[in-house]
């Protein structure tokens, strides 16, 4: 018998699955307010807001936070630039090895991060490049490019080639055509790709472990902090902030790319 309503058992199972995924996150939030600072005791003996003030006063938090924001911003900018160019080349022209390039670009995100990390580390060592802010940025850019590329290439394919020809025909040079025809048609895809890239970079641990020197990005800082049996709720406060900072762009990306299934330049 066909029914549009799911059976009760399936609903319960789906609910349990969702709860399993998200309740632990709520737990993190709860521990940000606990009065006990050495071990995560349940139920919390009491609630306090003092950890927010403590966190505010810790310079190591601020340093890690600002490093993470800088790395994420610059990686995203690099990814936007390279990812767009690559998507344009792959979708606009036919050349020998096009499919291979498409695969190679996507590979860093398909490979386990630890492999990307180890390979980058040995490559930097071989080239005698000292680990620095820029090695972290390079490491992050490898997978950020993929996200932008994937978003842009799908949109490029939907902007029909005759729009570009029409623009040229009407007197626009290549730059004007990009500025007035291509960019407006791919901008939401770029914004969405850029936001995802930012969020990915912001909470990256594995590749960063291998490509960073003495610097600590926020996720690395949190990892270290968990080992210290003192002021643990500070980590939870920071975790809340990270969740919010990464969740907002992903939500934004979702809304921007939603409902853009109509084909640009379809003509009829």
């Amino acid at each position: 018998m066909h029914s549009d309503r799911a059976p009760m058992g399936l609903k319960v199972a789906a609910g349990l699955g969702l709860a399993f995924m998200h309740l632990p996150i709520l737990l993190i939030f709860v521990y940000a307010f606990t009065t006990e600072d050495k071990s995560y005791q349940w139920p919390p003996p009491g609630f306090t807001l003092k950890w927010f003030a403590v966190t505010w006063g810790r310079t190591d938090v601020w340093e890690a936070m600002s490093l993470s924001l800088k790395v994420a911003s610059i990686s995203t900018v690099i990814a936007l630039f390279l990812g767009t160019l690559c998507a344009a080349a792959v979708s606009r022209t036919k050349f020998f090895g096009r499919e291979a390039i498409s695969l190679l670009v996507i590979l860093p995100i398909a490979l386990p991060g630890i492999i990307t990390g180890i390979s980058l580390r040995s490559a930097f060592n071989l080239a005698e490049i000292p680990f620095s802010f820029w090695t972290i940025v390079l490491g992050h850019a490898t997978f950020c490019v993929v996200v932008v590329y994937n978003n842009a290439v799908a949109r490029f394919r939907r902007v029909s080639g005759s729009l570009v020809e029409a623009s040229m025909d009407l007197g626009a040079n290549s730059f004007q055509t990009f500025r007035y025809v291509i960019l407006p048609n791919i901008s939401t895809a770029l914004l969405a790709g850029g936001m995802l890239a930012f969020a990915l970079s912001f909470d990256e641990v594995i590749v960063t472990t291998f490509t960073a020197g003495q610097q600590q990005t926020l996720p690395i800082w949190m990892l270290e902090e968990l080992v210290r049996p003192r002021e643990r709720p500070v980590t939870n406060v920071v975790a809340m902030v990270v969740v919010i900072v990464t969740f907002l762009p992903i939500l934004g990306a979702y809304y921007l790319t939603r409902g853009t299934d109509t084909v640009a330049g379809q003509g009829k």
Binding site: L170, Q176, N185
Partner: protein, 327 residues
Amino acid sequence: MNSAIRFSGVSRHYGAVKAVDDVNLDIAEGEFFAMLGPSGSGKTTSLRLIAGFERPTAGEIHIYGEEAQSIPPYKRPVNTVFQDYALFPHLNVRDNVAYGLMVAGVGKKQRAKSADETLEMVALGAYGDRKPSELSGGQRQRVALARALVNKPKALLLDEPLGALDLKLREQMQEELKSLQRSLGITFIFVTHDQSEALSMADRVAVFNNGRIVQIGTPEDIYYRPQQPFVADFVGSSNVLPPEFVAKLTGKTAHGSLRPEAVHLSETGHAAQIKSVSFLGTATRVSMTIQGVAMTMLVPKGAVIPKAGDTATVSWADDDLHLMAVQ
């Protein structure tokens, strides 16, 4: 008259595929010129060569006397109406029309005014604020036309512009395009696979086949005096008679072209076996064979219509049998 577009031995080959092969033509200023041919015959590639989207692999193209090889599409004094219209989906109708003026650096007020005037000319004055997706096919076609014309091109290139419209709209647009061309006085170059469209609108028609021009002439030339069996067959589906048959009739060995409407039922003449009969509305098309040669005739409304399987006697005036040299 001055030459607007001149092709001298122009070819566009893609490897072994000869999309355009050694084409020579000379289109005069102010002419309404049609490029007619089946799909893949090279007519659209020729148009794209003029627009600059394709480069010739051999030969030279002159646009108003200037060698066009090194001129990029955006610097050529021609504008195109694309087959799929290619309107910018993110711009409203006014900004679409004003696009050429915007990239040329015309001020905002001036270009909005010019765009509105041109939209007025194609009877879309009230549609400036709409998005292309909110228009019908016929309206989009007019916007595409206005977007090209607002730049005051020296030649307007139209790539099957009426192909996507229904019959009634198509006939109306044929009239409008023709009167527009007359009032503006600019060169129109029009690509179509529809022979009636080419014949009714153009001053001159070039018939394309396999990348080459097989005949250039006035619509009357093309229709009544085809030089090759392909032209006779493609333009108005004439009866192409084999040389042996023509030799028996006239004593000359040549392909013959005989219009279906020139053949009629008569008392004396040739015995024909009727194969099939199809009613077309204004006339009836009768397929038959005469001495083994397949032929069609158009019987006007009101005449006695033979039935399939009948034997009938048909004839035609000697003048109507047009001879073409054997290739």
